[in-house]
Every structure is written in C-alpha cells, then in structure tokens.
C-alpha cells in the first residue's frame, strides 16, 4: 500500500503552505498556525522528540519563523523546499556542531515536530560570528 503522488503533494501543501486540499481538508479556520518554526539540533531528535530535543544552544541561537503563506514552494514530486534561505542568528561564541534540523509548531519549548532531518554538511559553530543557514535546496519529502 502506498500513497498517491497527488495525495503526497496535497498533504505537504496543506501543512507547509496552508493550501486547501480540495474536497478533503481546509486550513484551520480558527487560530491557524501562520508560521512554521525552524530549529537546529546537535543530534537526531527522533520521531518521539520535540522541537527542544537536542536543540542547539549556541550563544544567540533562536528558532526562526517561516511564513506558511509564502515561505515554501508548491509541492512537486512529493517534496517542498523553503522559498528563501533560512538564516539563523550569528553565533556569539564557539558552540557545538549542528547535525539536524526540524520544522515544527510555533510556541517555543517542547512544541511538536512536523518534519525533522539531517543537515548536510554539518555546521561547526567553531567561533563567534558564524551564521548558520539552511539553503533553498533544503528539502522535505513524503513517500
């Protein structure tokens, strides 16, 4: 049993771009999430983790909002990407290496993860003044 390609795209577009899935689902009409939070991790948060699992704590680090209205490409072939590079705060001191990332619910703390994955190449926060960036090649897939 597998999921049809159109269905994969519809689910991704609904989650990442708040796009109605015709005849099946509309974006929340009451208090919809307007942004998707992006977090950086120093280890795999795993499927049971939250946005704060192994979350990076380099000096100045903060999660970054990406708008659901315009922040992601339209899903194609079961994959979406951010429409623009996602830049995090510049490090204020040396910190640990970033190996994973997650898109998740806003609200801070132990918010739910939507999708998580690896960061390639890993980003070494070897000094102050490093700005980690997830480029527009960043990809989320559903198969």
């Amino acid at each position: 049993m597998s999921i049809g390609n159109d269905t994969e795209n519809a689910i991704l577009n609904l989650v990442f771009s708040a796009t109605t899935w015709a005849n099946y689902a509309v974006n929340a009409t009451s208090s919809p999430e307007t942004n998707i939070h992006t977090a950086l991790m120093t280890a795999d948060p795993t499927d049971t983790g939250t946005m704060s699992s192994s979350e990076s704590a380099y000096t100045n680090y903060a999660r970054v909002n990406v708008a659901r209205s315009t922040g992601f490409s339209t899903s194609s072939a079961g994959s979406v990407s951010p429409a623009a590079a996602i830049n995090f705060a510049s490090s204020g001191a040396a910190g640990t290496t970033i190996t994973h990332f997650a898109f998740g619910k806003t609200g801070g703390g132990t918010a739910a993860i939507l999708w998580s994955g690896t960061v390639t190449p890993n980003i070494a926060i070897g000094a102050s003044g490093i700005t980690p960036q997830l480029t527009t090649a960043t990809t989320v897939t559903l198969d």
Partner: protein
C-alpha cells in the same frame, strides 16, 4: 626570498607559493594540490601579524565558511567578523515515509540525497542551491528505483 614569499601570501599566488616552498623547504611535506596549498596559505595569513588586517580577516572568513581552523587571535575575531560576516549554508534533508515500507527505506533515500549534496559541494556548486537540489532529487529517484524497483 622572504619578501617574495610574503608578497605571494598577500596576493594568494598559489602557484608561486608552491614553487617557493618546494625550493626553500624541499625536505618538508609539500601540499598535494592547489586546493590544499590554498587552505594552508589562508591559514598562514590568519597567523602572520605582518599581513594586512583586512586580508587576515578575509582568510579567517574563508576558513570559517569551510569549517576549517583559523589562526586569527581571539581578540581580532569580532572586528574580522564585522568586515566579513561568515554564513555557512547547508542543506536540510527531511525524508519521511507515511507507510511502514516508506519508513523502512527513508534512511537509505536520505543517505543517497546527503551523498549528492556532498558531491555537489565538492564540485563547486555550494552557492547554487537549484543545482544542488537537482542532484539531490536525481539521487532520490535513483535510490527509490533501486530499493523499490
């Protein structure tokens, strides 16, 4: 010779630096490639106090962007980073299977996509995310076909 060596470091003339290094210190290890020589030259520029600060700062940024060690003293780094902020661009890859089979093969597909990113970066496409993504998606298609037919 010292002045010429210093001038070659200032201008990052890698061919000249390799020739002079081989001539002056043939008994010491030699860089195996221009890329390795360039990395060593940038590191040397961060260390040498006689190099103009702006060039030391540039070399520091060049090394940081590639996650390589810099010899720039800690006290000089804030000024250097104001001159040349360092952005390290990487690619997030989140592969999720909605079915049991999809979940089982997801790590293999993600691995193939990670390898494609590394290859694209090695081939000099680091600043071309569309090219990188193209390689990744091709690797994904190939991996899916190989795993699932």
């Amino acid at each position: 010779m010292h002045e010429h060596f210093h001038a070659a470091l200032e201008s990052l003339d890698i061919q000249l630096l390799r020739k002079m290094w081989a001539h002056v210190s043939p008994q010491l290890p030699q860089p195996k490639s221009d890329e390795e020589a360039l990395q060593l030259a940038h590191y040397a520029r961060t260390v040498l106090a006689s190099i103009v600060f702006r060039r030391r700062a540039y070399s520091h940024a060049w090394l940081m962007e590639r996650s390589l060690p810099s010899g720039l003293p800690d006290g000089m780094r804030p000024s250097a980073q104001r001159l040349y902020p360092v952005t390290v661009g990487s690619v997030g890859i989140a592969v999720r299977g909605a079915t049991e089979l999809g979940r089982a093969v997801a790590p293999h597909i993600r691995g193939a996509m990670e390898d494609a990113v590394q290859e694209a970066y090695t081939d000099g496409h680091k600043d071309e995310p569309q090219v990188v993504k193209g390689h990744m998606m091709e690797a994904r298609r190939t991996a899916i076909k190989k795993l699932l037919g």
